[in-house]
Structure formats: C-alpha cells, structure tokens
C-alpha cells in the first residue's frame, strides 16, 4: 500500500495530491467504522498520544480525542491554562517532559504560527498540527475538502469561495492549499482590510462583493470574524460587516441556484451567517463535524503506521 510522503502533519503545504487522496480513501473506511454498533478498532492500542492545546478549542479537541479513542490509543490531555507554561516553562521543555512519559504522537494547537514545525525539528515524536496561530489548520482543510467531495464528487474544476476574515484565518490558508491541490478554483471574498497583502500570489481570485462571489461559486466556506486576533478595528461595526458580508437566506434565494455552505465553527450566528442559513439544507456544517472524526482517524492511523517501533 502507499504511505504518506510525510512523517508529521505540519500543514497542507507539505502534502501531495496523492497524500490527500490516500487520507480520503482511508477516511472512507473509518467513516464506516464509526457507524458500526461498536465504533472502535484496536490498531493503535500500543500508541500514546498527547493532545497539547495552548489555545482554546472545543470541536477540534473533542474530535481529535474521539478519533484517538476510536483507534484505541492511550491519550493525555494538556491545556495551557492549567499547566506549568504559566510558570515560564518553554515549549520544548514542556513537550520533552511529556515525551519522557513515552508519548509517540503529539497533537498540538498553539497561538504562534510555525509552532508545529519548530517542535518537529526539536523533539523526537510525530507532530500533528491542530492549528498554529494564523498559519495552518490542516485537519480542518482536509475535512472541509472531504465533505465537499462527498457532496459534489471530484473537486477538479469546482468553484469554491472562501468568505470572511481571511487575514486571520489558518483555515483559509490550509483550505486554499488543499483545494488547489485537488484542482478546484478558489476565490477569496472579504473587505480589503481582512484580505492578506499577498493573497493573489497563492493563485486564487479575489472579490470584495459577496453577491458576485456567491454567484460565481458552487460552494462557499463562511469564516468567522476572529475578534480575538484583532488589535485594531478592521471594519466600522459588526452590524455593517453582517450587512455586507453576512450570508442570509434572502441572498441565497437571489442566486437562483443551489450552493453548498460550509462553516468551520464556532458560528457567530447573525454575523457571518444567519441562523436560517446555518440550519438550512444548504449547510453541511454537521457533516463536517462527523467527517472530522473520520479524517483525523485516517491521519493518525497513516502517520502511526510510519512510526519506528521497538517492538521487534
């Protein structure tokens, strides 16, 4: 069988199209597994995984935890708020101390871009990036693309709009890399202040008017406005943002065609997307959550199969 071309999952940037296809095929099998009466396989029963969350998370953390448990791995959970990081311990020290407890895989979320890469060069474990600052969030992009593929088939030539706070979004960057690898066309839509400076160099289109982007696309990924990462005001008011860039049922009806709506969560209902849209049949938000577990099981399984073992 094919194996992944990488030993860590740091970002989509390091992956090939074949890697993504392998992850999707494996996820198909795990999706069947998690719909069985007993949703567990014993593959990883001799593997220990540490989930290090230096930043808040609900969905991703629960999803990783569930994926690891479904694979029968032993898990350690760590969140920065209750740890010695507050006492001044460095990242490498923290992780090495955890690894001294014989941990094989580290799943890490960190507020600093590049934290996963940094760690992978310094510690002896397989690293899975669960989001590093405004840089990448590879598992989210993979589950987004996987959910789209489930609804619309092969993504080659499909048009995907990514709408909202692109500047502060790791989901956007990972999504761009993943969708481009799979042959989709990508357009970013946001007020100019929320677009990164060099976005066109990524080979994507840019549009500042929401209706134009929606008319163009087959699917739209609605991102959250990340107020926690904004030191200055990027738009006059939340109300004005919602009027210009919020997705309403009215706007969807004007399109006279069906598009698929994604949202990585957490949703700010009434800001980037209204309740009616989020709960409509256009939205595949809950499919994304279910697929997230299957995708993460596939990634962990495939990376674990490459781990050096001292069993022999």
């Amino acid at each position: 069988m094919k194996a992944l071309s990488v030993d860590h999952l740091l970002g989509i940037k390091q992956l090939t199209e074949a890697d993504i296809q392998l992850i999707f095929e494996t996820a198909d099998h795990f999706k069947e597994v998690i719909n069985r009466p007993i949703k567990k396989v014993p593959s990883l029963r001799d593997i220990t995984i540490a989930n290090l969350f230096f930043e808040n998370s609900t969905r991703t953390k629960l999803s990783f935890e569930l994926a690891e448990k479904r694979l029968s791995a032993d898990i350690l959970n760590f969140s920065a708020a209750q740890s010695s990081v507050k006492k001044g311990e460095t990242l490498v020290d923290t992780v090495n101390n955890i690894l001294a407890m014989k941990v094989d895989i580290v799943v890490m979320r960190h507020p600093n871009p590049g934290a996963a890469q940094f760690l992978s060069q310094r510690v002896n474990a397989c690293i899975i990036n669960a989001g590093d600052g405004t840089h990448e969030h590879p598992t989210q992009a993979l589950l987004d693309a996987y959910s789209l593929r489930e609804k619309m088939g092969d993504l080659k030539g499909k048009k995907i709009a990514i709408v909202g706070d692109i500047r502060h979004s790791r989901v956007a960057l990972s999504n761009i890399f993943a969708l481009k690898l799979l042959g989709a066309e990508v357009k970013l839509c946001a007020p100019k202040s929320l677009l990164p400076k060099y976005s066109t160099s990524l080979g994507v289109g840019v549009e500042t008017q929401l209706m134009k982007a929606l008319k163009w696309c087959d699917a739209a990924n609605m991102l959250r406005v990340q107020n926690e990462r904004m030191e200055v005001g990027y738009f006059p008011s939340t109300r004005e943002y919602a009027l210009q860039y919020g997705l309403t049922l009215d706007k969807l009806n004007q399109l006279r065609k069906d598009i698929i709506i994604l949202h990585p969560g957490p949703i700010n209902r009434g800001v980037e997307i209204t309740t009616e849209v989020a709960d409509s049949e256009h939205a595949i938000i809950l499919d994304q959550v279910e697929n997230g577990v299957a995708i993460r099981m596939a990634i962990i399984y495939l990376l674990a199969s490459k781990l050096n073992t001292n069993i022999k």
Binding site: M1, K2, A3, E25, T26, D28, H29, F30, E32, V33, R36, P37, I38, K39, K40, V41, P42, S43, L44, D46, L71, Y301, A304, S305, L307, T309, I311, K312
Partner: protein, 181 residues
C-alpha cells in the same frame, strides 16, 4: 516468481459445488444465517458460493456481508508491508444469527482471528463458522480450524498459495508461488 498449478478449474468447480451443498445441508433456508466474505479475496469466493446456492434453491432470505479486517490485524507497525484497507459492507444485523466467515486460503489463522474480533463490532452472533477453499495444513499460529474445507494442501513455509479467479470458474486456478524454486 515461478508458479505451479495446484488445482485446475474443473477441480475448483467441483469443490465449489460441494461447499455450496454443505452450506445448504447445514443452513437449510438460510433465514438465520449470514455469510460474510473477508476482504479482499474471500469476497470472490462468497459471490461464487451465493450464485451456486441460488442455482440450487430459491432463497429470498440469503443475506451476506463483506468484512474488511485491516484495522484489526495484529501486525500493524510490525510488518514492513503496509496493508491497504478495503470497504466493509455490513448492512446486516448479525445479532443472534449464525455467521459463516468465508475466505480463500487459511494459513496462519491470524486474519481469521482479526475477523473474529471485527465481527464483534457488529453485534453478538449465535455462533460463527469458518469456510475456506484451501486449508494449508501444519502452518497454523493459532488454534483455529475450519468447519468447511474445499481442499487441504501441504506446501513449504514461505511459499504462497494463491487463487486466481476468472469470470468462469472452469478457467480459474489455484497455484503455488515459490520464493526458491
């Protein structure tokens, strides 16, 4: 790799015929039985057996599934080879039913052990039987024996016994793949 034909199509045809009748004899109208082919190679055998059984008897209740055991294997991270998973299609309720696991070649018994654990995830069957086309004798690593056997074959450790299915069973063969001829 050099190969030698162990069983030709005509012989294979007879074996399939006998196995199908043995199943009919034991399971009557199959209303409490579920046939499960093990992915990937047991599924070929399963499909042929079903066709044989249907030829003999009209059985609307004949239910079957396809089971992949990759994630239950005991050699994950222990063998150089990475095993690719196949799809499981288990849209059947095995609770309280008689299950017959079906595979082409029984060798060490390890994949059957994996299958026994995997079947467990779908419920608690009344009992489980094992049907194999080829039983490689004296090579078991585990105390596992088949209930229905097509043929028993003795070959050297390290050699591989393969079944090559053709659309017409009469043209299929069982052959030997040997490392050191």
């Amino acid at each position: 790799m050099p190969s030698k034909v162990l069983l030709d199509g005509v012989h294979l045809d007879t074996l399939l015929h006998r196995l199908a009748w043995q199943l009919i004899e034991k399971h009557k109208d199959f209303s409490n039985t579920i046939l499960i082919g093990l992915q990937p190679r047991g599924v070929e055998l399963l499909e042929r057996l079903i066709r044989r059984i249907q030829l003999q008897k009209d059985l609307p209740n004949l239910t079957f599934g396809k089971l992949d055991t990759t994630f239950f294997r005991d050699d994950f991270r222990r063998s150089e080879k990475i095993h690719a998973a196949s799809a499981s299609e288990m849209n059947v309720n095995i609770e309280g039913k008689s299950v017959v696991l079906i595979d082409d070649v029984l060798y060490t018994g390890r994949s059957i052990r994996a299958a026994l654990t995997a079947v467990d995830s779908y419920g608690r069957p009344k009992n489980i039987e094992l049907l194999v086309l080829i039983d490689r004798r004296f090579s078991r690593h585990l105390p596992i024996q088949p209930d229905y056997v097509g043929a028993q074959i003795d070959v050297l450790q390290g050699d591989k016994v393969r079944v090559k299915w053709e659309p017409e069973t009469q043209k299929s063969i069982v052959y030997l793949e040997t490392e050191n001829a």
